[in-house]
């Protein structure tokens, strides 16, 4: 799985959680809660879905890496030992 494939799959995964009118504004520097208006209660669901989708485990401390879209993609790649 390449980084591009991870990026595509992750953006697909978070799509149903995003509450902005225009999804085209999403970029790797977007913050899930502040910029993309994701309900903060659902943050944990994104973590669980990410674990399932990419067959990785994410501990509580690592959840901080999911605030920003690009950081989350990098984190997933690291966990899967993919070149960024």
């Amino acid at each position: 799985m390449s980084r591009d494939e991870v990026r595509k799959a992750y953006l697909e995964l978070i799509r149903s959680y995003i509450r902005v009118e225009d999804p085209s504004i999403i970029n790797e520097s977007s913050l899930l809660v502040n910029d993309l208006k994701v309900n903060s209660t659902r943050f944990v669901d994104i973590i669980l879905e990410t674990e399932d989708r990419f067959s990785i485990s994410i501990d509580d401390k690592e959840m901080e890496r999911f605030d920003r879209v690009g950081d989350a993609i990098d984190f997933i790649c690291e966990k899967k030992k993919l070149a960024a």
Partner: protein, 422 residues
């Protein structure tokens, strides 16, 4: 003291979804009871139930994908009934960016709230050591107040938003509670009613108690038999009924249509004494509840011209009728009209009182009484009541209708509705 009227209704019942469909189903005596294979597969004695038919298409009309994903059955029923009730009352649509409506409250009761979520997800995941896998929605779906919290958020309500729970008297108790909130000026409007999931995790312990019927599994539509000599237990059901209770002043200010007036109600407990227990009613408790309701509403017993009974299809039916004759000071042959909505929709437990109150108001507003099904072999102890129980739909312009509900814990709730007259 404010007068309280009903300006909107919403219903999710086993025999119809939506007020107009429910009116037709009541008028036609349509049964909503069907065979449920899951109950047989799980080894239940009862294999029949009343389960509302909510298609995916219907649900999509009320829920965002996110809300739908994070809702269980009682939340879905409550949302559909509440949104329909809101629209029916003629209030402006609500959106996520609408402000908070500080003058509207909600009392949406339930017996077991999110028990389907608890049974299907919280318990198995926890026991398997996977609590962290429950996700965010487990909390909002498992809590007893899941339905009222969901409706409160969807409609942006700013009055008290709460859930009452008093077993099978819950729905009527919610209406009594809402009545007093408006009567005392604490709210202009209250969405009052209840919702119950059709969950095998609820029905399991009732089946174990042998209070659900076991004798009509081959004939589902004959299974719910209130007032019948052959009644062998109730038919479990799910659903939701919601009333928009509103101060008459508020209703008139905005020119709202009015289904009927809530004259008032009362709730009490028989103390589990003198024949009362956790599962049975103290007859004096029932009689006092009816009499207090008459007193608080300043209604004479002779003015009651229709009773929508609790009448579940168990051995308690004859006892209930004897309590009513005593409380109203009337002979069996001189009783008001009596019918049992549970003969059509089964026993919605916490949702029963509100689904049946919607039935009362529809009958009152449209001048008819629905048939009480499956009592052709009338209970011999109350045989003289038979002429007062409609076998088929009849025209009747009720002016004062009494709704009674009783529940485990020996708790009782009664309310009197009056046909709307200026």
């Amino acid at each position: 003291m404010n007068r309280v009227v009903v300006t909107g209704m919403g219903i999710v019942a086993p025999n119809a979804v939506g007020v107009e469909a429910y009116r037709r189903a009541l008028c036609e005596g349509k049964s909503g009871i069907s065979y449920t294979s899951q109950m047989k597969e799980l080894g239940f004695g009862c294999h029949v139930a009343g389960v509302p038919d909510i298609s995916k298409q219907t649900a999509n009309g009320y829920f965002s994908p996110e809300l739908l994903k994070n809702s269980n059955a009682s939340m879905k029923y409550a949302v559909i009934a509440s949104v329909d009730c809101w629209k029916d009352s003629g209030l402006p649509s609500r959106h996520p960016d609408s402000g908070v409506d500080w003058r509207t409250a909600a009392i949406i009761g339930t017996s077991l709230g999110g028990i389907d979520t608890i049974g299907e997800s919280v318990v198995p995941e926890t026991n398997a050591g996977r609590a962290r896998r429950l996700g965010s929605s487990a909390a909002e779906k498992a809590m007893s107040s899941c339905a009222s919290a969901c409706v409160g958020g969807l409609l942006g309500l700013g009055g008290q938003v709460t859930t009452n729970s008093s077993a099978c008297s819950t729905g009527t108790e919610a209406i009594v509670g809402g009545f007093w909130m408006i009567r005392e000026g604490r709210s202009d409007r209250v969405l009052a009613g209840s919702a119950e999931a059709p969950s095998v995790y609820t029905w399991a312990f009732l089946d174990s108690l042998r209070v659900m019927t076991r004798s009509s599994n081959e004939q589902p539509q004959a299974a719910s038999r209130p007032l019948s000599a052959s009644a062998g237990g109730f038919v479990p059901a799910g659903g939701a009924g919601i009333l928009m209770l509103e101060s008459l002043t508020s209703a008139k200010e905005r020119g709202a249509k009015i289904y009927g007036e809530v004259l008032g109600g009362h709730s009490n407990c028989g103390g589990q004494r003198n024949g009362g227990s956790i599962t049975a009613s103290n007859p004096e408790g029932i009689q006092r509840c009816v009499q207090e309701t008459l007193e608080v509403t300043k209604t004479k017993p002779s003015e009651i011209d229709y009773v929508n009974g609790h009448l579940t299809g168990t051995g308690g039916d004859a006892k209930e009728i004897r309590c009513l004759t005593a409380a109203l000071g009337r002979r069996l042959s001189d009783m008001p009209w009596v019918n049992a909505t549970k003969s059509l929709i089964g026993h919605g437990l916490g949702a029963s009182g509100s689904m049946e109150s919607v039935a009362v108001l529809l009958q009152m507003a449209h001048g008819f009484l629905h048939p009480s099904l499956n009592c052709e072999d009338f209970h011999p102890e109350i045989e003289e009541l038979r002429p007062r129980v409609p076998e088929k739909s009849i025209p009747w312009n009720s002016r004062f209708a009494l709704k009674t509900s009783f529940g485990f814990g020996d708790v009782n709730s009664c309310v009197i509705f009056k046909r709307w007259e200026e």
